[in-house]
């Protein structure tokens, strides 16, 4: 069948209307030919012999009558060895190579191959001639940094095939043949190390999806102790601008205990993306001792890049995540920000003159968001291994108001909610996640009953704080005042964490458990403190020591001496654990 062709009959922003002849498909990719440039576009509506297409580039200079060539393919990414360390735009163009070719500016119509073509990979076949295989079966492996990259049968090959030839171990590039398969009808399929997969279609070449149970440690106390995330789970971080979403994502991307991290900047500030871009190659992964970039892929479609590729970028990110999951790895996908992605949808929907839904977002907003987050999960693969994708998406709600459609649609489908508030960021309390308004359905690093007890102190302390605003400090009982100071103390030295302090920025689960034990002693103790001034002075001094303690290396001499000082300060004034705190502790010990 000959490919369809068309001509441009209308231009409106980044949407182009085409009159075509032949057969075309929804979401098919086409190229608009403008002078010597070929601009990539995607079909988003077909009516009669007219197709509306969103162009992934600036549309300046397109004219009526320009030729359009259809490709018969959906928007797809190339999967194969060499994805790690790459910095791509939303269409999988490698940006550093683009820079080498075009310099400072992004030139239109230049699409480079996503995977390095001249790099040779050390190939070890794992199947023999005559083996039976199907989509996602591993044909062989190549080392990719610290991973064993599994070269698989493309997922679109869903039948049973016989291996009729398999290439000898050796050093090959991604374009060289590594195997030939044959189906039951005798058709032969020569394969290389890479293949294409359409981004808007989830990869489901696995046995079953499992319940996420294991915590994904972020090394942030507030999250791991109180608002945990699970491997294979989903979470969202909504917050007003300036509340620290990006820093939170950056810190998570560095410290999260996963194998591969994929960062998707959709419509975000280039100035911030560049921090990650330039810093990651210099930061060391504590697990491997090598650069963090070796386990990272960055998809970077910043706010000034065309809106249609912004819409594509989260799909590109999650498809790459699925690919590494298929190798039995734990992958974290961070999307910053899903609101910009939703706005891109709104922009296109407006151009299509669709009937707008709430706040002018399209009616399919919710199902699209749900469809994206549902691509997370822990799965049992066909080879018996497990792999997972955790998705963390930031949301930038208009006016910082969590009632708006994108936040609400997201909250319905995620397992944890880390809501940032202006109030906490104004008071420089970072991370500015509101400890009481946020929630998580996953299990964290601290036993639940004691974490709940600490949370109760926070809740009670906040209530007392509110009350104190009305009745004043003098109208507050000594007991209440003590709880208030305990909750302030917990907030200041445990919930808050300094992401710019070399030690405090990442706290191992061991240290969190250890510090929490002592925190629990303090929160659970009755104290021999007889007036408000002594209570305040005592907690100020304790806070000072704790802040210093947070900043020294785990188990160092200084750590231990500060710990002794803190313990002795507490011992001097403590009358022992309260009955309630004692009971909770006992129930945990008894239960174990």
């Amino acid at each position: 069948m000959a490919r369809a062709t068309g001509i441009v009959v209308g231009v409106n922003g980044n949407m182009v209307t085409v009159s075509f002849s032949g057969q075309i498909a929804m979401n098919e990719v086409a190229y608009v030919i403008v002078g010597d440039k070929r601009l990539k576009a995607e079909v988003i509506r077909i009516r009669g012999d007219r197709a509306d297409m969103q162009v992934f580039e600036i549309t300046n200079g397109i004219g009526i009558g320009d030729i359009v060539e259809f490709t018969e393919e959906m928007l797809a990414v190339e999967l194969g060895p060499g994805l790690l360390t790459q910095v791509y735009d939303g269409l999988q163009n490698p940006l550093p190579e683009l820079a080498a070719e075009c310099g400072f500016f992004l030139e239109r119509g230049i699409y480079l191959q996503p995977l390095p073509r001249n790099k040779k990979w050390d190939w070890t076949p794992v199947v023999q001639v005559g083996s039976e295989v199907t989509g996602s079966a591993t044909l062989g492996t190549v080392p990719e940094f610290s991973f064993e990259h599994k070269v698989q049968v493309p997922y679109y090959m869903t039948e049973n095939y016989k291996v009729v030839s398999i290439t000898e171990p050796g050093s090959y590039n991604v374009d060289q043949e590594i195997a030939v398969l044959e189906d039951s009808k005798g058709n032969k399929y020569p394969l290389t190390m890479s293949f294409f997969w359409p981004v808007k279609k989830a990869i489901t070449a696995y046995e079953e999806r499992l319940q996420p149970t294991e915590p994904m440690v972020t090394q942030m106390r507030l999250i791991d102790t109180f608002l945990p995330v699970a491997k294979g789970g989903t979470y969202c971080i909504p917050g007003p601008f300036g509340a620290g979403k990006t820093v939170l994502q950056q810190v998570t991307s560095r410290n999260a205990d996963v194998d591969v991290v994929i960062l998707t900047a959709c419509g975000e500030r280039a100035g911030e993306v560049v921090e990650t871009l330039k810093e990651f190659p210099e930061l060391l992964d504590p697990k491997t001792g090598r650069t963090l970039m070796e386990r990272t892929i960055i998809i970077c479609n910043t706010s000034s890049m065309p809106v249609a590729s912004r819409e594509a970028s989260v799909y590109t990110g999650v498809t790459l995540a699925e690919y590494y999951r298929q190798m039995g790895l734990n992958v974290l996908l961070l999307a910053d920000s899903t609101s910009r992605w939703a706005q891109a949808m709104r922009e296109m929907s407006g151009r299509l003159e669709e009937i707008p839904g709430e706040e002018a977002f399209p009616a399919y907003l919710e199902s699209t968001i749900a469809g994206f987050y549902e691509r997370a999960g822990v799965v049992r693969l066909r080879d018996g291994n497990q792999g997972s994708i955790t998705i963390g998406g930031t949301v930038s709600p208009a006016g910082g108001n969590f009632e708006e459609p994108v936040t609400q649609a997201t909250l319905k489908v995620v397992g944890a909610f880390h809501g940032l508030t202006r109030e906490r960021s104004d008071a420089r309390k970072y991370p500015a996640i509101h400890p009481l308004e946020s929630w998580s359905k996953y299990k964290g690093v601290i036993d639940q009953p004691r974490a709940d007890f600490a949370r109760k102190v926070l809740i009670r302390g906040t209530e007392i704080g509110q009350m104190m605003k009305v009745v004043g400090e003098e109208g507050t009982s000594l007991d209440d005042y003590l709880i208030f100071m305990k909750s302030e103390f917990l907030d200041a030295v445990y919930l808050q964490q300094n992401s710019f302090d070399p030690v405090d920025n990442s706290v191992s689960p061991e240290r969190q458990t250890f510090v929490f034990d002592l925190m629990y002693q303090i929160l659970g103790s009755d104290f021999d403190l007889t007036d408000k001034d002594t209570i305040r002075t005592f907690f100020n001094q304790l806070r000072q020591k704790f802040i210093d303690w947070n900043g020294v290396e785990w188990k160092s001499g200084e750590f231990e001496s500060l710990e002794r000082e803190i313990r002795s300060m507490v011992k001097d004034k403590s009358k022992g654990l309260s009955k309630e705190a004692e009971d909770i502790s006992a129930s945990i010990v008894g239960g174990q």
Partner: protein, 431 residues
């Protein structure tokens, strides 16, 4: 010779349409009417129907007027001759100087490849403690000044123009009141800063569509200077007027409106301007400071709201001073590690205490008895506002940091400040 079209099919507001062939999206045309001739830009193509926005406005344009397409998009002249000059929104002189036509460059060019950006790392000193200490301005940063109407935002901008340590200022006025235009002109001339300034200005009485061009022209010129190695500061006032001009066109074009009548691509439109802020590897830089007035003082209004998500922080101007709450320079973290070791801790510590001061103030206003701690906070807040926050304070960063310690020492004992012991030992005033 390009074809001249003499049949305008429709005129709605500032948008006209003609039937024409061979026209390309974003091309320019000249519309000749009894009002004079004006540039117009193609904003939509639909078969042989071409929609154009007329820069000088649709008023007085008649159906029989001439439309001639130029076959290229908007350009501006670029050279050193721009320095010290004042132009209008379409690049025409406003200062009786000669018209510039050499070396035309495109406006609204492609965006910078993120892979070619470098991490912002140089602070731009302004001598204003609320900026230098608490929210340092960083080369290549883009920051709005969120401001209610009536606040002295143009005065602040002018002072930054006079004092900022940069090579070159591009000042873009959008919908400026004539008085404000004169204020900028006089202040820059008297302060001797005009010779390092290029001033593109659209005043409130100029045709509305020209307002749309000011940010693009200013940034295109800034970009060329930056590529020549210059450190350029672009000051824009007021971007809300720019967004309102976009809204007007969108509604005239019968686009499906998004929030509060603004077009659905408001975010992308603002972003493509702000994202011009950049530090070129091995060359110069563009830093953008842009006033965004908040209608009704409401930061959740679509213009400040979208702006906030594009920019790297913001300065809030309230009650005639830069508010510490809400104000934020995300990139300060890139620079205030290198200024002085106490910088980062001091700015956080002081703001935390100032937040506590505000709570005490609230308690006081409700008539509660003040504790000794409240009294200390009240004294602190008062000193902080008078000797640091006031916009007339003009001292170097280091002096401002010392002043911060003095203020704390005048009010608190060291452990009450929440500062690290090591810093207290080094910087706490000794007497």
């Amino acid at each position: 010779m390009r074809k001249v079209y003499t049949k305008i099919e429709s005129i709605a507001g500032n948008v006209i349409s003609v039937k024409a062939e061979g026209v390309r999206y974003k091309d320019l045309a000249v519309v000749k009417s009894s009002q004079g001739s004006s540039l117009a830009e193609v904003i939509r193509l639909d078969g042989d129907k071409v929609n154009l926005q007329v820069y000088a406005g649709g008023r007085g344009v008649s159906t029989g007027d001439e439309v001639r397409f130029l076959g290229h998009s908007m350009k501006v002249s670029f050279s050193d001759n721009l320095l010290g000059r004042i132009f209008d929104g379409s690049g025409k002189p406003r200062d009786n100087g000669p018209e510039l036509e050499e070396n035309l460059i495109d406006i609204g060019g492609p965006s910078v490849n993120p892979a070619k950006r470098i991490i912002p790392r140089n602070m731009i000193r302004t001598g204003i403690p609320m900026i230098d200490v608490f929210n340092s301005l960083v080369e290549s940063q883009k920051l709005p000044i969120f401001s209610a109407s009536g606040e002295p935002y143009n005065q602040l901008l002018a002072r930054i123009a006079m004092q900022a340590e940069v090579d070159l200022i591009v000042l873009g006025g959008i919908g400026l009141k004539y008085d404000d235009y004169l204020f900028f002109k006089n202040t820059l001339e008297e302060g001797g800063a005009m010779n390092r300034t290029i001033f593109f200005t659209h005043t409130a009485s100029d045709p509305m569509v020209e307002a749309l061009l000011v940010p693009d022209i200013s940034l295109a010129v800034a970009e060329q200077f930056a590529l020549q190695g210059k450190k350029v500061l672009v000051l824009l006032t007021d971007m809300t007027n720019f967004a309102d001009a976009m809204k007007e066109i969108a509604i005239t074009m019968e686009q499906v409106p998004s929030n509060r009548g603004y077009p659905g691509d408001l975010y992308s439109q603002l972003a493509s301007r702000y994202e011009k802020a950049v530090d070129f590897e091995g060359s110069g830089s563009i830093t953008v400071l842009a006033v965004t007035t908040m209608p009704g003082g409401d930061v959740t209004h679509p213009v400040p709201d979208n702006t906030g998500y594009i920019t790297e922080g913001q300065y809030y101007l309230r009650g005639g001073r830069i508010e510490p709450f809400g104000s934020l320079s995300r990139l300060k973290q890139m620079v205030n590690d290198d200024t002085r070791e106490d910088h980062r801790a001091l700015m956080d510590g002081m703001i935390k205490l100032y937040a506590a001061y505000n709570e005490s103030l609230e308690k006081k206003s409700m008539g509660f008895r003040m504790t000794s701690w409240d009294d200390k906070l009240l004294k602190y807040g008062d000193l902080f506002e008078k000797t640091m926050m006031d916009l007339s304070v003009n001292i170097p960063l280091e002096a401002a940091l010392d002043r911060g310690w003095e203020i704390m020492a005048a009010c608190f004992s060291p452990e009450e400040t929440g500062m690290k012991t090591s810093l207290i030992e080094k910087f706490w005033p000794k007497n």
